[in-house]
Protein backbone atom coordinates (compact mmCIF):
# COMPACT_ATOMS: atom_id res chain seq x y z
CA UNK A 1 0.00 0.00 0.00
CA UNK A 2 2.75 2.42 1.05
CA UNK A 3 4.72 1.74 -2.11
CA UNK A 4 1.78 2.33 -4.47
CA UNK A 5 0.83 5.53 -2.68
CA UNK A 6 4.35 6.81 -3.01
CA UNK A 7 4.52 6.02 -6.72
CA UNK A 8 1.17 7.71 -7.42
CA UNK A 9 2.27 10.78 -5.44
CA UNK A 10 5.54 10.89 -7.35
CA UNK A 11 3.84 10.85 -10.75
CA UNK A 12 1.28 13.50 -9.76
CA UNK A 13 3.96 15.82 -8.38
CA UNK A 14 6.35 15.17 -11.26
CA UNK A 15 3.52 15.84 -13.72
CA UNK A 16 2.71 19.15 -12.05
CA UNK A 17 6.40 20.10 -12.03
CA UNK A 18 6.91 19.30 -15.73
CA UNK A 19 3.69 20.96 -16.91
CA UNK A 20 4.32 24.13 -14.90
CA UNK A 21 7.95 24.19 -16.11
CA UNK A 22 6.67 24.12 -19.70
CA UNK A 23 4.21 26.90 -18.84
CA UNK A 24 7.08 29.00 -17.43
CA UNK A 25 8.79 29.08 -20.83
CA UNK A 26 5.69 29.22 -23.03
CA UNK A 27 3.22 31.64 -21.39
CA UNK A 28 3.22 35.13 -22.83
CA UNK A 29 2.53 37.08 -19.67
CA UNK A 30 5.59 37.38 -17.44
CA UNK A 31 3.61 37.42 -14.19
CA UNK A 32 1.85 34.21 -15.18
CA UNK A 33 5.27 32.68 -15.91
CA UNK A 34 6.53 33.53 -12.45
CA UNK A 35 3.42 32.10 -10.77
CA UNK A 36 3.95 28.86 -12.74
CA UNK A 37 7.54 28.90 -11.53
CA UNK A 38 6.26 29.08 -7.93
CA UNK A 39 3.98 26.11 -8.62
CA UNK A 40 6.92 24.14 -9.99
CA UNK A 41 8.99 24.90 -6.89
CA UNK A 42 6.10 23.75 -4.72
CA UNK A 43 5.81 20.46 -6.63
CA UNK A 44 9.56 19.87 -6.24
CA UNK A 45 9.28 20.56 -2.50
CA UNK A 46 6.55 17.91 -2.46
CA UNK A 47 8.92 15.47 -4.18
CA UNK A 48 11.51 16.13 -1.46
CA UNK A 49 8.91 15.29 1.19
CA UNK A 50 8.18 11.94 -0.47
CA UNK A 51 11.94 11.27 -0.18
CA UNK A 52 11.85 12.04 3.59
CA UNK A 53 13.98 15.16 3.06
CA UNK A 54 11.64 17.48 4.96
CA UNK A 55 14.34 20.01 5.77
CA UNK A 56 15.28 20.50 2.12
CA UNK A 57 11.58 20.75 1.25
CA UNK A 58 10.96 23.49 3.79
CA UNK A 59 14.07 25.40 2.75
CA UNK A 60 12.97 25.04 -0.88
CA UNK A 61 9.64 26.70 -0.06
CA UNK A 62 11.15 29.31 2.24
CA UNK A 63 13.86 30.46 -0.17
CA UNK A 64 12.59 29.77 -3.66
CA UNK A 65 8.93 30.66 -3.17
CA UNK A 66 9.17 33.02 -0.21
CA UNK A 67 12.15 35.00 -1.44
CA UNK A 68 13.18 34.34 -5.06
CA UNK A 69 9.72 34.25 -6.65
CA UNK A 70 8.57 37.20 -4.54
CA UNK A 71 11.59 39.22 -5.68
CA UNK A 72 10.93 38.24 -9.33
CA UNK A 73 7.36 39.48 -8.99
CA UNK A 74 8.57 42.63 -7.29
CA UNK A 75 11.01 43.41 -10.11
CA UNK A 76 8.49 42.65 -12.86
CA UNK A 77 6.00 45.01 -11.27
CA UNK A 78 8.61 47.74 -10.88
CA UNK A 79 9.29 47.57 -14.62
CA UNK A 80 5.65 48.14 -15.51
CA UNK A 81 6.25 48.13 -19.27
CA UNK A 82 6.73 44.37 -19.14
CA UNK A 83 3.30 43.69 -17.70
CA UNK A 84 1.45 46.05 -19.99
CA UNK A 85 1.42 43.81 -23.04
CA UNK A 86 2.15 40.22 -23.86
CA UNK A 87 5.73 39.61 -24.86
CA UNK A 88 7.06 36.99 -27.21
CA UNK A 89 9.28 34.60 -25.30
CA UNK A 90 11.25 33.42 -28.33
CA UNK A 91 13.46 35.07 -30.95
CA UNK A 92 15.20 33.98 -34.17
CA UNK A 93 17.69 31.79 -32.29
CA UNK A 94 14.96 29.28 -31.47
CA UNK A 95 16.43 26.50 -33.63
CA UNK A 96 19.93 26.64 -32.19
CA UNK A 97 18.68 26.60 -28.61
CA UNK A 98 16.42 23.62 -29.31
CA UNK A 99 19.42 21.69 -30.63
CA UNK A 100 21.57 22.66 -27.65
CA UNK A 101 18.83 21.78 -25.17
CA UNK A 102 18.35 18.43 -26.92
CA UNK A 103 22.10 17.73 -26.66
CA UNK A 104 22.02 18.57 -22.95
CA UNK A 105 19.06 16.23 -22.44
CA UNK A 106 20.90 13.46 -24.32
CA UNK A 107 23.99 14.01 -22.16
CA UNK A 108 22.03 13.91 -18.91
CA UNK A 109 20.07 10.79 -19.89
CA UNK A 110 23.28 8.99 -20.89
CA UNK A 111 24.98 9.91 -17.62
CA UNK A 112 21.93 8.85 -15.60
CA UNK A 113 21.77 5.51 -17.41
CA UNK A 114 25.45 4.73 -16.98
CA UNK A 115 25.65 5.59 -13.30
CA UNK A 116 25.31 2.61 -11.03
CA UNK A 117 23.07 3.84 -8.23
CA UNK A 118 24.09 2.70 -4.78
CA UNK A 119 21.01 1.87 -2.74
CA UNK A 120 21.92 2.61 0.83
CA UNK A 121 21.12 -0.26 3.21
CA UNK A 122 20.58 2.23 6.06
CA UNK A 123 17.08 2.74 7.35
CA UNK A 124 15.39 6.12 6.90
CA UNK A 125 17.04 8.63 9.19
CA UNK A 126 14.54 9.84 11.77
CA UNK A 127 15.64 13.42 12.34
CA UNK A 128 17.38 14.60 9.22
CA UNK A 129 17.48 18.25 10.30
CA UNK A 130 19.89 17.81 13.20
CA UNK A 131 22.04 15.46 11.10
CA UNK A 132 22.31 18.09 8.38
CA UNK A 133 23.08 20.77 10.97
CA UNK A 134 25.83 18.70 12.55
CA UNK A 135 27.42 17.84 9.21
CA UNK A 136 27.30 21.45 8.01
CA UNK A 137 29.18 22.68 11.07
CA UNK A 138 31.71 19.82 11.33
CA UNK A 139 32.68 17.91 8.17
CA UNK A 140 31.48 20.45 5.62
CA UNK A 141 32.17 23.66 7.54
CA UNK A 142 34.68 24.94 4.98
CA UNK A 143 32.47 24.67 1.87
CA UNK A 144 29.58 26.03 3.93
CA UNK A 145 31.52 29.15 4.93
CA UNK A 146 32.85 29.51 1.38
CA UNK A 147 29.29 29.64 0.03
CA UNK A 148 28.48 32.35 2.59
CA UNK A 149 31.43 34.39 1.33
CA UNK A 150 30.22 33.99 -2.27
CA UNK A 151 26.77 35.21 -1.22
CA UNK A 152 28.32 38.15 0.62
CA UNK A 153 30.29 39.07 -2.50
CA UNK A 154 27.05 39.06 -4.52
CA UNK A 155 25.37 41.28 -1.94
CA UNK A 156 28.22 43.79 -1.95
CA UNK A 157 28.29 43.73 -5.76
CA UNK A 158 24.58 44.49 -5.95
CA UNK A 159 24.91 47.35 -3.48
CA UNK A 160 27.86 48.84 -5.37
CA UNK A 161 25.93 48.74 -8.65
CA UNK A 162 22.73 50.13 -7.16
CA UNK A 163 24.07 52.93 -4.99
CA UNK A 164 24.27 56.46 -6.29
CA UNK A 165 27.56 58.25 -5.63
CA UNK A 166 26.99 61.42 -3.68
CA UNK A 167 29.79 63.49 -5.22
Amino acid sequence: MEGIGQIITFYILAGIAVISAILVISLRNLVHCVISLALMMLAIAGLYITLFAEFIAMVQILIYIGAVVVLFLFLIMLTLRLTDKDIKQTNEQKGISFILAGLLLFLLVTVLNRTSWNISPEAVVENTTSKIGNLLLTTYVFPFELISVVLLACLIGAIVIARKDKD
Binding site: M1, E54, M58, L62, I65, V70, L73, M77, T128
Partner: protein, 351 residues
Protein backbone atom coordinates in the same frame (compact mmCIF):
# COMPACT_ATOMS: atom_id res chain seq x y z
CA UNK B 1 -13.78 18.12 33.15
CA UNK B 2 -11.28 15.41 34.03
CA UNK B 3 -10.81 14.77 30.31
CA UNK B 4 -9.79 18.37 29.68
CA UNK B 5 -6.78 17.89 31.94
CA UNK B 6 -5.69 14.53 30.51
CA UNK B 7 -6.00 15.33 26.84
CA UNK B 8 -3.17 12.94 26.00
CA UNK B 9 -5.21 10.04 27.45
CA UNK B 10 -8.31 11.26 25.64
CA UNK B 11 -6.54 11.27 22.27
CA UNK B 12 -4.95 7.88 22.98
CA UNK B 13 -8.26 6.27 23.88
CA UNK B 14 -9.94 7.73 20.76
CA UNK B 15 -7.11 6.28 18.67
CA UNK B 16 -7.46 2.84 20.28
CA UNK B 17 -11.23 2.93 19.83
CA UNK B 18 -10.97 3.80 16.14
CA UNK B 19 -8.28 1.20 15.47
CA UNK B 20 -10.43 -1.46 17.14
CA UNK B 21 -13.44 -0.34 15.13
CA UNK B 22 -11.49 -0.79 11.89
CA UNK B 23 -10.20 -4.14 13.03
CA UNK B 24 -13.66 -5.44 13.94
CA UNK B 25 -15.39 -4.35 10.75
CA UNK B 26 -12.47 -4.99 8.37
CA UNK B 27 -12.17 -1.36 7.27
CA UNK B 28 -8.82 -0.66 5.53
CA UNK B 29 -6.64 1.65 7.62
CA UNK B 30 -6.25 4.25 4.87
CA UNK B 31 -10.00 4.95 4.97
CA UNK B 32 -9.62 5.68 8.67
CA UNK B 33 -6.72 8.04 7.93
CA UNK B 34 -8.73 9.89 5.28
CA UNK B 35 -11.75 10.21 7.58
CA UNK B 36 -9.61 11.50 10.46
CA UNK B 37 -7.93 14.01 8.14
CA UNK B 38 -11.30 15.27 6.88
CA UNK B 39 -12.73 15.60 10.40
CA UNK B 40 -9.65 17.43 11.72
CA UNK B 41 -9.63 19.77 8.71
CA UNK B 42 -13.31 20.48 9.33
CA UNK B 43 -12.68 21.27 12.99
CA UNK B 44 -9.81 23.63 12.10
CA UNK B 45 -11.86 25.39 9.41
CA UNK B 46 -14.77 25.79 11.82
CA UNK B 47 -12.49 27.17 14.50
CA UNK B 48 -10.94 29.66 12.05
CA UNK B 49 -14.37 30.93 10.99
CA UNK B 50 -15.76 31.29 14.51
CA UNK B 51 -12.50 32.74 15.82
CA UNK B 52 -12.47 35.34 13.03
CA UNK B 53 -16.00 36.43 13.89
CA UNK B 54 -15.03 36.81 17.55
CA UNK B 55 -11.84 38.67 16.78
CA UNK B 56 -13.52 41.10 14.38
CA UNK B 57 -16.07 41.96 17.04
CA UNK B 58 -13.35 42.19 19.70
CA UNK B 59 -11.29 44.49 17.50
CA UNK B 60 -14.22 46.81 16.86
CA UNK B 61 -15.15 46.89 20.53
CA UNK B 62 -11.53 47.44 21.66
CA UNK B 63 -11.06 50.18 19.07
CA UNK B 64 -14.30 51.82 20.12
CA UNK B 65 -13.52 51.80 23.82
CA UNK B 66 -9.98 53.09 23.24
CA UNK B 67 -11.51 55.99 21.32
CA UNK B 68 -14.22 56.56 23.95
CA UNK B 69 -17.03 55.22 21.75
CA UNK B 70 -19.34 52.24 22.22
CA UNK B 71 -18.80 50.45 18.91
CA UNK B 72 -21.47 48.20 17.35
CA UNK B 73 -24.54 48.14 19.63
CA UNK B 74 -27.53 47.35 17.41
CA UNK B 75 -27.40 43.64 16.51
CA UNK B 76 -27.87 41.48 19.60
CA UNK B 77 -26.81 42.34 23.14
CA UNK B 78 -24.11 45.05 22.88
CA UNK B 79 -23.68 44.20 19.19
CA UNK B 80 -22.60 40.64 19.88
CA UNK B 81 -24.14 39.36 16.62
CA UNK B 82 -22.75 42.21 14.50
CA UNK B 83 -20.14 40.05 12.74
CA UNK B 84 -22.71 37.35 12.01
CA UNK B 85 -24.78 39.98 10.23
CA UNK B 86 -21.66 41.25 8.42
CA UNK B 87 -20.73 37.73 7.32
CA UNK B 88 -24.22 37.10 5.92
CA UNK B 89 -24.06 40.41 4.06
CA UNK B 90 -20.64 39.57 2.58
CA UNK B 91 -21.70 36.11 1.45
CA UNK B 92 -24.87 37.38 -0.23
CA UNK B 93 -23.14 40.17 -2.13
CA UNK B 94 -22.74 40.21 -5.88
CA UNK B 95 -19.40 38.98 -7.21
CA UNK B 96 -17.81 41.91 -9.00
CA UNK B 97 -14.71 41.69 -11.17
CA UNK B 98 -13.10 44.73 -12.80
CA UNK B 99 -13.06 44.72 -16.61
CA UNK B 100 -9.25 45.07 -16.79
CA UNK B 101 -8.65 42.40 -14.17
CA UNK B 102 -6.66 39.29 -14.99
CA UNK B 103 -9.49 36.77 -14.49
CA UNK B 104 -7.59 33.66 -13.35
CA UNK B 105 -5.21 35.48 -11.04
CA UNK B 106 -7.98 37.64 -9.60
CA UNK B 107 -9.90 34.48 -8.74
CA UNK B 108 -6.90 32.55 -7.37
CA UNK B 109 -5.41 35.31 -5.18
CA UNK B 110 -7.78 35.05 -2.17
CA UNK B 111 -7.36 31.28 -2.15
CA UNK B 112 -3.56 31.54 -2.18
CA UNK B 113 -3.71 34.01 0.72
CA UNK B 114 -6.14 31.88 2.71
CA UNK B 115 -4.63 28.39 2.27
CA UNK B 116 -1.25 29.06 3.99
CA UNK B 117 -3.04 30.80 6.86
CA UNK B 118 -4.95 27.57 7.46
CA UNK B 119 -1.86 25.41 6.99
CA UNK B 120 -0.18 27.08 9.95
CA UNK B 121 -2.78 25.48 12.24
CA UNK B 122 -1.22 22.06 11.63
CA UNK B 123 1.50 22.68 14.19
CA UNK B 124 -0.29 24.66 16.90
CA UNK B 125 -0.04 22.76 20.21
CA UNK B 126 -3.37 23.31 21.99
CA UNK B 127 -2.93 20.88 24.84
CA UNK B 128 -0.85 17.72 25.45
CA UNK B 129 -1.62 15.37 22.57
CA UNK B 130 -3.96 17.84 20.85
CA UNK B 131 -1.91 18.92 17.87
CA UNK B 132 -2.76 18.08 14.29
CA UNK B 133 0.79 16.88 13.63
CA UNK B 134 3.85 17.51 15.81
CA UNK B 135 6.26 17.84 12.90
CA UNK B 136 9.99 17.48 13.46
CA UNK B 137 10.42 20.81 11.72
CA UNK B 138 7.59 22.63 13.51
CA UNK B 139 8.85 26.19 13.55
CA UNK B 140 10.59 25.95 10.18
CA UNK B 141 7.34 24.64 8.65
CA UNK B 142 5.52 27.64 10.05
CA UNK B 143 8.00 30.07 8.50
CA UNK B 144 7.93 28.26 5.15
CA UNK B 145 4.13 28.24 5.01
CA UNK B 146 3.94 31.85 6.10
CA UNK B 147 6.11 32.91 3.20
CA UNK B 148 3.65 31.56 0.58
CA UNK B 149 0.82 33.91 1.53
CA UNK B 150 2.59 37.01 0.27
CA UNK B 151 2.44 35.67 -3.30
CA UNK B 152 -1.34 35.76 -3.02
CA UNK B 153 -1.23 39.38 -1.86
CA UNK B 154 1.03 40.36 -4.78
CA UNK B 155 -1.24 38.49 -7.20
CA UNK B 156 -4.29 40.27 -5.80
CA UNK B 157 -2.59 43.64 -6.17
CA UNK B 158 -1.38 43.00 -9.70
CA UNK B 159 -4.44 41.28 -11.14
CA UNK B 160 -6.85 44.02 -10.03
CA UNK B 161 -5.48 46.27 -12.77
CA UNK B 162 -5.49 49.25 -10.42
CA UNK B 163 -2.48 51.42 -9.54
CA UNK B 164 -3.35 51.58 -5.84
CA UNK B 165 -3.74 47.82 -5.61
CA UNK B 166 -0.44 47.30 -7.40
CA UNK B 167 1.34 49.65 -4.99
CA UNK B 168 -0.19 47.77 -2.05
CA UNK B 169 1.03 44.45 -3.42
CA UNK B 170 4.55 45.78 -3.99
CA UNK B 171 4.75 47.27 -0.52
CA UNK B 172 3.63 43.96 0.90
CA UNK B 173 6.37 42.09 -0.99
CA UNK B 174 9.11 44.40 0.24
CA UNK B 175 7.79 44.39 3.79
CA UNK B 176 7.28 40.67 4.23
CA UNK B 177 10.65 39.74 2.74
CA UNK B 178 12.39 42.22 5.06
CA UNK B 179 10.60 41.32 8.27
CA UNK B 180 10.85 37.59 7.69
CA UNK B 181 14.58 37.96 8.35
CA UNK B 182 14.10 39.55 11.76
CA UNK B 183 11.37 37.03 12.61
CA UNK B 184 13.71 34.10 11.97
CA UNK B 185 16.48 35.78 13.97
CA UNK B 186 14.16 36.42 16.94
CA UNK B 187 13.03 32.79 17.03
CA UNK B 188 16.56 31.43 16.71
CA UNK B 189 17.46 32.24 20.33
CA UNK B 190 14.68 29.98 21.63
CA UNK B 191 15.63 27.22 19.18
CA UNK B 192 19.24 27.40 20.41
CA UNK B 193 18.13 26.97 24.03
CA UNK B 194 15.86 24.01 23.28
CA UNK B 195 17.85 22.33 20.54
CA UNK B 196 14.63 21.27 18.81
CA UNK B 197 12.16 22.63 16.29
CA UNK B 198 9.31 20.45 17.57
CA UNK B 199 6.45 22.39 19.15
CA UNK B 200 5.83 19.71 21.82
CA UNK B 201 9.45 19.77 22.97
CA UNK B 202 9.53 23.57 22.97
CA UNK B 203 6.60 23.58 25.41
CA UNK B 204 8.04 20.85 27.63
CA UNK B 205 11.39 22.67 27.86
CA UNK B 206 9.62 25.58 29.58
CA UNK B 207 8.31 23.58 32.54
CA UNK B 208 10.31 25.51 35.15
CA UNK B 209 10.78 28.91 33.58
CA UNK B 210 9.30 30.54 30.51
CA UNK B 211 11.65 31.55 27.73
CA UNK B 212 10.47 35.14 27.96
CA UNK B 213 12.73 35.38 31.04
CA UNK B 214 15.79 34.20 29.08
CA UNK B 215 14.84 35.90 25.81
CA UNK B 216 13.09 39.21 26.58
CA UNK B 217 14.73 40.83 23.55
CA UNK B 218 13.75 37.91 21.33
CA UNK B 219 10.14 38.24 22.54
CA UNK B 220 9.98 41.95 21.70
CA UNK B 221 11.61 41.41 18.30
CA UNK B 222 9.15 38.61 17.56
CA UNK B 223 6.17 40.80 18.48
CA UNK B 224 7.33 43.57 16.14
CA UNK B 225 8.26 41.28 13.26
CA UNK B 226 4.97 39.39 13.63
CA UNK B 227 2.97 42.63 13.48
CA UNK B 228 4.70 43.44 10.20
CA UNK B 229 4.24 39.90 8.86
CA UNK B 230 0.50 40.10 9.48
CA UNK B 231 0.36 43.52 7.76
CA UNK B 232 -1.13 45.03 10.90
CA UNK B 233 -0.90 48.66 11.98
CA UNK B 234 1.53 50.37 12.60
CA UNK B 235 3.02 48.36 9.71
CA UNK B 236 -0.12 48.10 7.54
CA UNK B 237 1.52 49.70 4.52
CA UNK B 238 -0.06 47.25 2.00
CA UNK B 239 -3.57 48.48 2.81
CA UNK B 240 -2.94 51.96 4.19
CA UNK B 241 -6.45 53.43 3.93
CA UNK B 242 -5.38 57.06 3.86
CA UNK B 243 -2.90 56.51 1.00
CA UNK B 244 -4.01 53.52 -1.08
CA UNK B 245 -7.84 53.36 -0.65
CA UNK B 246 -7.61 49.78 0.66
CA UNK B 247 -4.38 48.61 -0.96
CA UNK B 248 -4.26 45.17 -2.50
CA UNK B 249 -7.94 44.32 -1.82
CA UNK B 250 -9.44 47.56 -3.15
CA UNK B 251 -11.24 45.80 -6.02
CA UNK B 252 -12.41 42.81 -4.03
CA UNK B 253 -15.91 42.45 -2.66
CA UNK B 254 -18.29 39.90 -1.25
CA UNK B 255 -17.01 36.43 -0.46
CA UNK B 256 -13.54 37.08 -1.90
CA UNK B 257 -13.05 40.04 0.41
CA UNK B 258 -14.27 37.86 3.27
CA UNK B 259 -11.53 35.37 2.49
CA UNK B 260 -8.85 38.06 2.85
CA UNK B 261 -10.41 38.97 6.17
CA UNK B 262 -10.50 35.36 7.35
CA UNK B 263 -6.85 34.94 6.38
CA UNK B 264 -5.82 38.09 8.26
CA UNK B 265 -7.45 37.04 11.51
CA UNK B 266 -6.40 33.42 11.13
CA UNK B 267 -2.84 34.70 10.77
CA UNK B 268 -3.09 36.90 13.85
CA UNK B 269 -4.29 33.99 15.95
CA UNK B 270 -1.62 31.64 14.57
CA UNK B 271 1.18 34.14 15.17
CA UNK B 272 -0.03 34.75 18.73
CA UNK B 273 -0.32 31.02 19.41
CA UNK B 274 3.26 30.51 18.21
CA UNK B 275 4.37 33.39 20.44
CA UNK B 276 2.66 31.66 23.37
CA UNK B 277 4.40 28.39 22.54
CA UNK B 278 7.85 29.86 22.04
CA UNK B 279 8.02 32.42 24.83
CA UNK B 280 5.13 31.94 27.28
CA UNK B 281 5.27 28.24 28.08
CA UNK B 282 2.46 27.09 25.78
CA UNK B 283 -0.27 25.16 27.56
CA UNK B 284 1.49 25.19 30.95
CA UNK B 285 0.40 27.32 33.87
CA UNK B 286 2.47 30.07 35.43
CA UNK B 287 5.32 28.30 37.33
CA UNK B 288 4.84 28.56 41.08
CA UNK B 289 1.25 29.79 40.88
CA UNK B 290 -1.16 27.40 42.63
CA UNK B 291 -3.96 27.70 40.06
CA UNK B 292 -4.97 24.59 38.15
CA UNK B 293 -6.73 25.22 34.88
CA UNK B 294 -7.03 22.80 31.95
CA UNK B 295 -4.00 23.20 29.63
CA UNK B 296 -6.17 24.29 26.72
CA UNK B 297 -7.62 27.11 28.83
CA UNK B 298 -4.12 28.34 29.71
CA UNK B 299 -3.18 28.20 26.04
CA UNK B 300 -6.22 30.21 24.95
CA UNK B 301 -5.82 32.80 27.75
CA UNK B 302 -2.20 33.49 26.77
CA UNK B 303 -2.91 33.50 23.06
CA UNK B 304 -5.80 35.93 23.34
CA UNK B 305 -3.67 38.14 25.60
CA UNK B 306 -1.12 38.40 22.77
CA UNK B 307 -3.94 39.03 20.26
CA UNK B 308 -5.09 41.86 22.52
CA UNK B 309 -1.57 43.33 22.45
CA UNK B 310 -1.67 43.31 18.63
CA UNK B 311 -5.00 45.13 18.67
CA UNK B 312 -3.67 47.56 21.26
CA UNK B 313 -0.72 48.31 18.91
CA UNK B 314 -3.11 49.00 16.08
CA UNK B 315 -5.19 51.58 17.88
CA UNK B 316 -2.40 53.42 19.70
CA UNK B 317 0.47 53.77 17.22
CA UNK B 318 0.39 55.94 14.09
CA UNK B 319 1.31 54.27 10.80
CA UNK B 320 4.99 54.43 9.83
CA UNK B 321 6.24 55.68 6.43
CA UNK B 322 7.63 53.25 3.86
CA UNK B 323 11.22 54.42 4.29
CA UNK B 324 10.85 54.36 8.09
CA UNK B 325 9.55 50.82 7.79
CA UNK B 326 12.63 49.67 5.90
CA UNK B 327 15.06 51.54 8.17
CA UNK B 328 13.37 50.11 11.25
CA UNK B 329 13.46 46.57 9.89
CA UNK B 330 16.97 46.43 8.49
CA UNK B 331 18.89 48.88 10.67
CA UNK B 332 17.30 48.16 14.05
CA UNK B 333 15.54 44.79 14.23
CA UNK B 334 18.07 42.74 12.25
CA UNK B 335 21.17 43.94 14.20
CA UNK B 336 19.30 43.49 17.50
CA UNK B 337 18.40 39.96 16.41
CA UNK B 338 22.07 39.19 15.76
CA UNK B 339 23.05 40.66 19.15
CA UNK B 340 20.41 38.47 20.81
CA UNK B 341 21.83 35.34 19.13
CA UNK B 342 25.38 36.35 20.06
CA UNK B 343 24.49 36.86 23.74
CA UNK B 344 22.50 33.61 23.86
CA UNK B 345 25.41 31.72 22.31
CA UNK B 346 27.97 33.29 24.67
CA UNK B 347 25.90 32.48 27.77
CA UNK B 348 25.36 28.90 26.58
CA UNK B 349 29.10 28.41 25.99
CA UNK B 350 30.06 29.89 29.38
CA UNK B 351 27.50 27.74 31.19
Amino acid sequence: MELLFNTQELIDSINIFLTNLCWNYNIPSWILTVVIMAVVAGIVAGFVAVNTMMLVLAERKIAAHMQDRLGPMRVGFHGILQTVADAIKLVLKENIMPKVADKTMFFLAPIIVFAPAMMAYVILPWSPGIIVSDLNLGVLYLLAVGSIGVIGIIMAGWSSGNKYSLLGGMRSAAQVVSYEVSMVLSILGVIMLTGSLKMGELVNAQKDIWYICYQPLGFLLYLMAATAECNRAPFDMPEAESELVAGFHTEYGGIKFAMFFLAEYANIFAVSAVCTTLFLGGWQGIPGLPITLPPIVWFLIKTYAIVFIFMWFRWTYPRVRVDQLMTFGWKLLVPLGFINILITGLVMVIK
